[in-house]
């Protein structure tokens, strides 16, 4: 039992205690706020340092996965490097001089350029046309975009295996369709004059949906007032397309041309799978640049020479991108 005379003391002490706690808490809150303010001030003061700390791990990973392999490839290109041979001498630019005489690489470069030009033009023109058409059926456009996007998310290898069967000269559905309308069969993958179009067909089918979606986004962002105003001024749909839509879409067109160029210039998987000479399914040996690099590196084990080819590929693509930037960039 608590003596009565201590109760007021207890209450007074309790109040003093809770006051003390509250003061301490206020003091802590005040300190935290002060510290947080200090922190914010230091970020403003040492902005660069904090950016480095935040982006550091990501940048380090990027350097390990991207930058280091590129630098190492460039370094290897000056060596005669065969993984199973102990002697790996420095040979200067010999690998690059050899490229000038390499007929196979020249053929691969020409094939890749032809393929890239055809695939980029057909894919982007078709994608733009479809995106414009879908704008007129806006309510159901997402359904079509989804259907067109399915090939984009299908991996290249299984898609190419299926197309290999579609292209089969005896059992393939394409030739079945041709013969059913009285046209002759084609050796899609066996005829050296036809295989380029076969690979373009597969690549366009695969990537069309991606660019339809990108163009769709771009078209939706064009202000309706501009289109209405041009209509009021008497512009025909074709004139609206040429003088309003396309100029407004220029930045997106630039983006898609660059991305498409990079994607198609690096074509490898469909060519490899479609032309893989399994013993019973011969196909024409259609050379592309990445295929040549792969063959030199992992079949002939000429790692240094493959490195030189990779550097040339890098310079080529950078040049193409630079040209496209120059042509499509908005002039200020």
């Amino acid at each position: 039992m608590i003596p009565k005379k201590h109760v007021p003391d207890l209450i007074r002490d309790g109040n003093r205690f809770s006051d003390k706690i509250m003061r301490e808490q206020e003091s802590v809150r005040g300190n935290l706020a002060a510290r947080f303010q200090e922190f914010r001030d230091s970020i403003k003061r040492d902005h660069l340092l904090w950016v480095l700390i935040a982006l550091g791990p990501v940048f380090a990973l990027f350097c390990i996965i991207r930058v280091y392999p590129i630098l190492e490839t460039i370094r290897l290109s000056f060596y005669r490097y065969h993984p199973t041979q102990r002697n790996r001498p420095f040979i200067g630019f010999d690998n690059y001089w050899r490229l000038l005489e390499d007929e196979a690489f020249r053929t691969a470069l020409i094939n890749t350029l032809q393929f890239c030009v055809m695939a980029v033009i057909i894919t982007l023109v078709l994608a733009f046309a479809i995106a414009v058409l879908l704008r007129s059926i806006e309510k159901v456009a997402p359904v079509y975009e989804l259907l067109l996007y399915i090939p984009v998310v299908t991996p290249w290898v299984p898609a190419s295996v299926i197309w290999k069967w579609i292209f089969d000269p005896v059992h393939g559905i394409l030739n079945y369709g041709l013969t059913s309308v009285g046209l002759p069969k084609l050796a899609w993958l066996q005829d050296e004059h036809v295989i380029l179009y076969a690979i373009v067909l597969v690549s366009v089918w695969k990537m069309l949906g991606y660019f339809v979606v990108v163009y769709g986004v771009g078209l939706r962002n064009i202000p309706d007032e501009l289109l209405e105003a041009s209509e009021l001024d008497g512009a025909t749909p074709w004139q609206r397309l040429i003088y309003v839509v396309i100029p407004m879409m220029k930045p997106i067109i630039l983006f898609t041309v660059i991305i498409a160029t990079i994607i198609f210039f690096n074509v490898f998987a469909p060519v490899y799978v479609l032309t893989a000479s399994a013993q019973g399914a011969p196909a024409y040996d259609f050379k592309v640049v990445i295929g040549e690099i792969y063959q030199n590196a992992f079949v002939f084990y000429r790692m240094g020479y493959a490195g030189a080819q990779s550097v040339v590929l890098l310079l080529f693509v950078l040049t193409l991108v630079f040209i496209q930037f120059t042509l499509f960039r908005e002039k200020r």
């Binding site: 196979a104 000269p169 013993q279 019973g280 002939f300």
Partner: protein
């Protein structure tokens, strides 16, 4: 008598030693295979191996052949890779010269050097300065496969006996539809896949020239190119191919299914390949009645051999156990399994394949070739893939050139280009021999 007694006692001791379990050895040995059809044989070996090494795990991985070669090329020089190296004869020099092979135990080295056990041409693949570095295990010997029903329907009493007859038969066995399109190849030629294409072109070339296109050079690991010296033979083979791909004698077409798949599906009446085709066609074309004979002769009579060699990685931590596994793979039951399930021909001459031959007599053409048939092996060299691929590209581009029909000079130009391509690559790699 005394020698025989000592030999028998040694064998007995060895079998007892193999039978005693080694429980002290622990760890894992890894085996990679580029020929998945031999997996059954390795699994049989694994069962026996575990009796002796209960505490050693065995990991066996199979890959597609080119992928297997690429993985080996990257891992072995880096000090990793499998413990047991199953190497094709043409990539064997790469690992020997790279210092990647462990020393062979004396008993296995002795077996390799014994002509009664391993024939001399196969011993020479693995031997450097008198010392063997691997055990030749099996060979893929080539032959001419032919469809019995097709030959009978065409009124042909038996398979072709000469190089010239091969082409004549091909023309008779070809079938076309009402539009003139080929529906069945008289002979399925190797038209794509340049590296293998060079090899199969060589099947014909050897019979005319008496030498391979690429023969071993004066020093080990070097190669001499014989095309220029045998340009008439080389051009003749190319012309025969071209004339049977274009024009009136057309007997094959790129659009048809080829090789063993084509033969097993009835799309081809004849083709040349190695012994693995026998179990393949039995499995994939059970209705196909076929026979196999040695590749028909011309001026020469030879058979191509692709050899698999077993060796041990010098970086293996369980070398003794790995060599023991290789010893087990020499057992009668296992070499029988190799022959029966994969079709590859074991090279042990001191084994009896009678039980397998009783079930499948067609293997006899491969296990007991005619005594006058020369067994040739490709000249192994570090630039093998590049050389055969680039030469194959030249030859197969020639196949597509219809203007070469009846054009001997044009054919010679193509084959000289093939010759020059090979010489350039060999010189670039420092293993060209005059």
């Amino acid at each position: 008598m005394v020698r025989r007694f000592i030999l028998a006692a040694a064998c007995l001791l060895l079998s007892i030693q193999l039978g005693i379990a080694d429980e002290k050895t622990k760890g894992k040995i890894s085996i990679w295979l580029g020929y998945p059809e031999t997996l059954d044989a390795f699994k049989l070996g694994q069962t026996e191996f575990k009796k002796k090494y209960p505490n050693v795990d065995v990991e066996i991985l199979t890959f597609e052949l080119r992928e297997f070669e690429a993985k080996l090329a990257v891992s072995v020089p880096a000090g990793s890779g499998p413990d047991i190296l199953a190497l094709h004869d043409f990539i064997f020099p790469r690992y020997y010269e790279g210092g990647s092979l462990a020393d062979m135990p004396a008993d296995l080295a002795q077996a390799v050097n014994n002509k009664a056990i391993i024939d001399t041409p196969f011993r020479d693949i693995v031997t450097r300065e008198g010392k063997p570095w691997g055990l030749p295990w099996w060979s893929g010997r080539n032959g001419l496969f032919y469809n019995l029903d097709h030959l009978q329907a065409a009124g042909l009493s038996g398979p072709p006996k000469s190089y010239t007859e091969v082409w004549q038969y091909a023309e008779k066995l070809t079938q076309k539809n009402e539009k003139g399109e080929l529906t069945r190849a008289g002979i399925s030629l190797r038209l794509t896949g340049p590296s293998g294409g060079t090899q199969k072109f060589g099947y014909f070339y050897y019979q005319l020239a008496g030498v391979q296109m690429f023969e071993p050079g004066k020093k080990p690991g070097t190669v001499q190119v014989t095309i220029a010296k045998n340009i008439d033979a080389a051009a003749r083979v190319l012309l025969d191919h071209v004339e049977h791909l274009h024009g009136a004698k057309k007997s094959d077409d790129w659009a048809l299914k080829h090789d063993a798949q084509g033969f097993a599906s009835g799309a081809a009446s004849m083709f040349m390949r190695e012994s693995w085709v026998i179990p393949f066609v039995k499995k994939n074309g059970p209705d196909v009645k076929f026979g196999v004979v040695p590749v028909p002769r011309d001026k020469a009579f030879g058979a191509f051999n692709a050899v698999e060699v077993l060796s041990v990685n010098k970086d293996s931590k369980l070398k003794d156990a790995a060599w023991d596994f290789i010893r087990i793979l020499q057992d009668q039951a296992i070499v029988n399994n190799v022959l029966e399930s994969s079709g590859w021909v074991p090279l042990r001459r001191d084994r009896d394949y009678g039980s397998v031959l009783a079930k499948e007599p067609r293997f006899a053409q491969m296990t007991s070739p005619p005594s006058d048939q020369v067994q040739y092996i490709e000249a192994p060299n570090v630039a093998y893939e590049e050389m055969t691929t680039r030469v194959g590209e030249v030859i197969q581009a020639g196949f597509r050139d219809a203007s070469l029909v009846g054009n001997m000079d044009g054919a010679k130009r193509v084959m000289m280009r093939a010759h020059d391509t090979a010489v350039k690559i060999l010189k670039d790699n420092g293993n060209y021999s005059d």
